[in-house]
C-alpha cells in the first residue's frame, strides 16, 4: 500500500549446461524480471558476450509464425477465447507435429483459393466497366477489332465532329459525356486523331470481346455471382476450421510462445564460452523461494545470490502493491505514468477519491443505475485485461454516483420523495419542478473549494515526503522547504481572507482584535505566512515565484466538481421539461391522433436527451475527476517514469507446464 512491491536484485551464475534448466525454472515461476545484458564492457563484465539462443529456436519460431499465419487467416484471437481446459505439454507437442502441417495446408489451400477467386471477381468487374460504354452502340463487339487496313477509335468526346475522310462512325449523346466510335482507314489515322483531339477526345480501350455488349455484361454479372457463391462457401469452410480448431490453435500459440521465449532468453544473458550470468529482479518476499528452487533443479551446480540494491543507480522495476479494490485504478495510473520505485504510489488515494469526485459530479440515481447496467452488459463482451479494469473503475464510479444521487435526491433530474440530504442541486427549470428551494450554489461552491484545499494540501505534504526520501544534502532541505512554502502561501492567503470576509462554512476570523491600520491579527498572521512561503519558494528556485497564481487557479479549479455537475443536472431537467412538460402532458390531456403523436415525440426527446446526458456524464464526470488528479493533485508530488515489472514467464491459460 502506498509503496510499490519491494524488489530484490538476483544474480545467477553457472556453467552453460545449467542454462536450459535455469531458464525453464525461471519461466515456470514467472517472477524474474530480467535485466538485459548490454555489451558495454561494464566493470566486472569484461570478456562477456551476449548469449546465443538455445538449440531448436529457429524451428520453434518457424512453427510459431505458421500458427500466427493461420490464426490471422481465420481471425482467432486468444483474448476472445474462454479458457475451458488446459492441454498437457506432451500431448500438445505430439499434436503440433501431427496436426499442424495438415491444418496449415488446409487453411493455406482455402485462403489461396479465396484470393484467386477474389482476383477473378475483380477482373470480371473490370470487364464490365470496360464494356459498359459500348452498350449504347448497336454493334457487336467483334466489329471493333481484327482489321488490317482499318483502325478503331472509341472514347468520350466533348461535341459531335465530322470526319472528312471515308469512315464509319457512331455518336451517342450522353448526359455528361458523349461517346463516339469511329472506324477509319489506317492511312488517315493522324488526320482523324487531330480532329478528334480538337474536340476534346478521351480514348477508351476497346475490350477484346465478341457478341452483343449487353449480353456480355450479363454473362460477367452471372460469373461474378457464381464466384461470390464460391467465396461464401470457402468462408464457411474457414469458419468450420475455426470452430473446430480454435482451442487447439490458441493452445499451440501459447505453448510455442513459451518455448520461443525460453529458447531466446540467453540473448538477454551475459555469457562466456563456458559460463553464463543473468541479473534481474524478483519480489523481495519471493527471492528465497526462487533461489531454493533454482538450486534444487540444477542440483546445486549454480551460484545464486541477492545483490544489494543501489536506489541511486539501479533501475528497479515497479510492480504495484495494492489491495484488491484499488487494483482497477492502476490502469488510470499507467495512463499517466508508473510510479518510480522510490516514490509514493498514489493508486490507493486515486482509487478512493476518483469515484467520490465522479459521484459528486454525476450524483444521480438514474444515471448511476444506467451506468451500472452498462458495465455489467459490457462485461460479457469485453475480455481484454485493460477493458475489464476500465469497467471496474466505471462500476465503482457508478456506485458512488448512485450513493451521491440518494444524497442529492436526484433521479434523471427529478427529485426523489425526500429533500436533498446534503446540498440541493435542483435548478428551477420548467413546470415539472413546483417551487423548491433552488440550488444551494454558495454552499456547493465552498464545499468544492474545501475539497480543493484539502486535496492540494495532501498533495504538497506527499511532495515533502517524496523529496525528503529521494533527494540528498542541501538540495533536499531546499525542496522540502519550497513545498512547505507553497502550503504556507495557500493557508496564509486563506487566513487573510477569513480575517476580512465572513463566509458560510468557513472559519470566521473577522472578530480577531484589530492590530494596526484597521487590519486585525489574522490578516497579519496570513501576510506573514505568505511572506515566509514566498521566501521558501524563492530560495529553491526564483522562477517558481511567477507560478504563485496557480495556487488560486488550482484551488478554484475544484469548482468544476460543482459546475460540471450542475450543467448535467440542468440538461436533465431541460430534457424532462421539454419531453414531459411540453409534449407528453399536453398530449395526455387530449388523446387524439395529434395527442398520441405528441406523446411519442415526447418519449423520443426523453430517451434521446437522457442518452446524450449519460454520454456527457461519463465524459464530464470521468475526464474532470481524472484531470483533477493528473493536473491539480499529481503535479504537487508525483513524478512517475518507473519501469514496468515484466516477469520472465507467462500466465498460462490454455496449456500446462
Amino acid at each position: 500500500m502506498l509503496k510499490p512491491r519491494q524488489m530484490s536484485r538476483l544474480l545467477i551464475a553457472g556453467s552453460r549446461e545449467q542454462m536450459a534448466p535455469v531458464i525453464a525454472d525461471l519461466y515456470r515461476h514467472n517472477l524474474f524480471h530480467i535485466e538485459d545484458y548490454v555489451d558495454t564492457g561494464a566493470e566486472g563484465y569484461e570478456g562477456f558476450k551476449i548469449g546465443s539462443p538455445l538449440p531448436g529456436a529457429s524451428e520453434k519460431s518457424a512453427d510459431l509464425i505458421k500458427i500466427r499465419a493461420i490464426t490471422n487467416a481465420i481471425s482467432v484471437q486468444a483474448d476472445d477465447v474462454e479458457a475451458k481446459k488446459t492441454s498437457p505439454r506432451l500431448e500438445l507437442k505430439a499434436r503440433i507435429e501431427r496436426e499442424l502441417p495438415l491444418l496449415e495446408r488446409e487453411v493455406e489451400d482455402l485462403t489461396v483459393r479465396r484470393s484467386k477467386l477474389d482476383t477473378r471477381v475483380k477482373e470480371c468487374e473490370q470487364k464490365i466497366l470496360e464494356i459498359s460504354p459500348f452498350t449504347n452502340v448497336p454493334a457487336d463487339m467483334d466489329l471493333y477489332h481484327g482489321y488490317k487496313r482499318f483502325m478503331t477509335f472509341a472514347g468520350y468526346i466533348a461535341r459531335e465532329v465530322t470526319i472528312p475522310v471515308p469512315h464509319e462512325m457512331y455518336f451517342s449523346k450522353g448526359k455528361e459525356k458523349n461517346f463516339i466510335v469511329a472506324v477509319v482507314q489506317t492511312e488517315h489515322r493522324s488526320e482523324v486523331e487531330r480532329i478528334l483531339q480538337e474536340a476534346g477526345f478521351q480514348s477508351v480501350p476497346v475490350p477484346e470481346e465478341s457478341g452483343v455488349p449487353q449480353e456480355r455484361i450479363e454473362y460477367y454479372t452471372d460469373l461474378i455471382s457464381t464466384l461470390k457463391g464460391e467465396i461464401v462457401e470457402i468462408n464457411k469452410n474457414l469458419d468450420a476450421v475455426r470452430m473446430k480448431h480454435t482451442e487447439f490453435l490458441v493452445a499451440c500459440e501459447e505453448f510455442l510462445k513459451a518455448e520461443v521465449d525460453q529458447t531466446e532468453a540467453p540473448l538477454r544473458f551475459a555469457t562466456t564460452r563456458q559460463t553464463f550470468v543473468a541479473e534481474g529482479w524478483v519480489p523481495g518476499d519471493m527471492a528465497d523461494a526462487v533461489m531454493d528452487s533454482l538450486v534444487k533443479v540444477t542440483g546445486g551446480k549454480i551460484y545464486v545470490t541477492v545483490l544489494p540494491t543501489d536506489l541511486e543507480h539501479d533501475e528497479v522495476p515497479v510492480e504495484y502493491n495494492n489491495p484488491d479494490f484499488a487494483k482497477p485504478a492502476q490502469m488510470l495510473m499507467d495512463v499517466y505514468s508508473r510510479p518510480k520505485y522510490t516514490e509514493i504510489d498514489p493508486t490507493l488515494m486515486l482509487a478512493i477519491v476518483f469515484p467520490l469526485f465522479f459521484g459528486l459530479i454525476l450524483g444521480d440515481v438514474g444515471y448511476g443505475l444506467i451506468l451500472l447496467v452498462m458495465c455489467f452488459g459490457l462485461r460479457r463482451m469485453i475480455k481484454g485485461e485493460d477493458g475489464v479494469m476500465f469497467l471496474k473503475v466505471l462500476r465503482n464510479a457508478s456506485i458512488s454516483s448512485i450513493i451521491f444521487g440518494l444524497l442529492f435526491s436526484e433521479f434523471l433530474g427529478f427529485e426523489l420523495p425526500w429533500h436533498p440530504l446534503i446540498f440541493s442541486r435542483h435548478l428551477l427549470i420548467g413546470a415539472t419542478e413546483g417551487g423548491g428551494e433552488g440550488p444551494a450554489i454558495p454552499a456547493l461552491m465552498i464545499m468544492s473549494i474545501w475539497i480543493g484545499i484539502l486535496h492540494i494540501t495532501l498533495g504538497r505534504v506527499l511532495g515533502m515526503y517524496n523529496h525528503a526520501k529521494q533527494d540528498h544534502g542541501d538540495h533536499r532541505i531546499k525542496v522540502v522547504m519550497a513545498n512547505f512554502g507553497w502550503l504556507a502561501v495557500m493557508w496564509g492567503l486563506l487566513v487573510a481572507i477569513w480575517s476580512n470576509v465572513a463566509m458560510p462554512y468557513m472559519p470566521n476570523l473577522t472578530g480577531l482584535p484589530v492590530v494596526a491600520a484597521g487590519f486585525n491579527l489574522g490578516t497579519f498572521i496570513g501576510a506573514a505566512l505568505i511572506l515566509i512561503g514566498v521566501a521558501c519558494i524563492a530560495r529553491d528556485s526564483i522562477l517558481e515565484v511567477i507560478e504563485l497564481p496557480t495556487i488560486i487557479s488550482h484551488v478554484l479549479s475544484y469548482a468544476r466538481l460543482v459546475a460540471v455537475g450542475l450543467s448535467s443536472v440542468a440538461i436533465a431537467m431541460v430534457v424532462n421539461y421539454l419531453s414531459i412538460g411540453m409534449f407528453i402532458s399536453p398530449g395526455l390531456k387530449s388523446l387524439s391522433i395529434v395527442g398520441i403523436i405528441m406523446i411519442l415525440v415526447g418519449i423520443m426527446i426523453f430517451l434521446f436527451g437522457h442518452a446524450l446526458n449519460v454520454a456527457l456524464g461519463i465524459l464530464g464526470g470521468g475526464l474532470h475527476s481524472i484531470r483533477l488528479h493528473y493536473v491539480e493533485f499529481f503535479t504537487k508530488f508525483y513524478k512517475g517514469g518507473g519501469i514496468k515489472y515484466v516477469p520472465f514467464g507467462m500466465k498460462r491459460r490454455f496449456t500446462e507446464e
Binding site: 499507467d334 495512463v335 499517466y336 505514468s337 433552488g438 440550488p439 450554489i441 454558495p442 461552491m445 487557479s553 478554484l556 479549479s557 469548482a559 468544476r560 460543482v562 459546475a563 460540471v564 450542475l566 450543467s567 475526464l623 474532470h624 484531470r627 493528473y630 493536473v631
Partner: protein, 88 residues
Amino acid sequence: MADVATVAVAATDLASIQASQMGMKAIGAGLAVGLTGVGTGVAEMGIGAAAVGAIAENKDFFGLGLLFTVIPETIVIFGLVVGLLLLF
C-alpha cells in the same frame, strides 16, 4: 391622488428596473460562459493537435497529452463559476 399615481409609477419603474437588472445578469452570465468557452477552445486547439500528433508517434504519451490538453479547461470553469455566482 397625484401622490398615489407617483407611487404606482415608481413601483412599476422599480419592477421593470429589477427585471432588466436580472436580464443584464443573465446576459453577463451568458457572456462569461460563452467567451471563456471560446477562450478554452482556442487554447486547446493547438495543444490538442500537437498532443494527437505526439500520441500517434508514441502511445505512451496519451496520459501526458491528455493532461496538457485539458489544462486550459480551467478557464471555462472560471466562466461557469462566475456565471453561477451571478445568477444565484
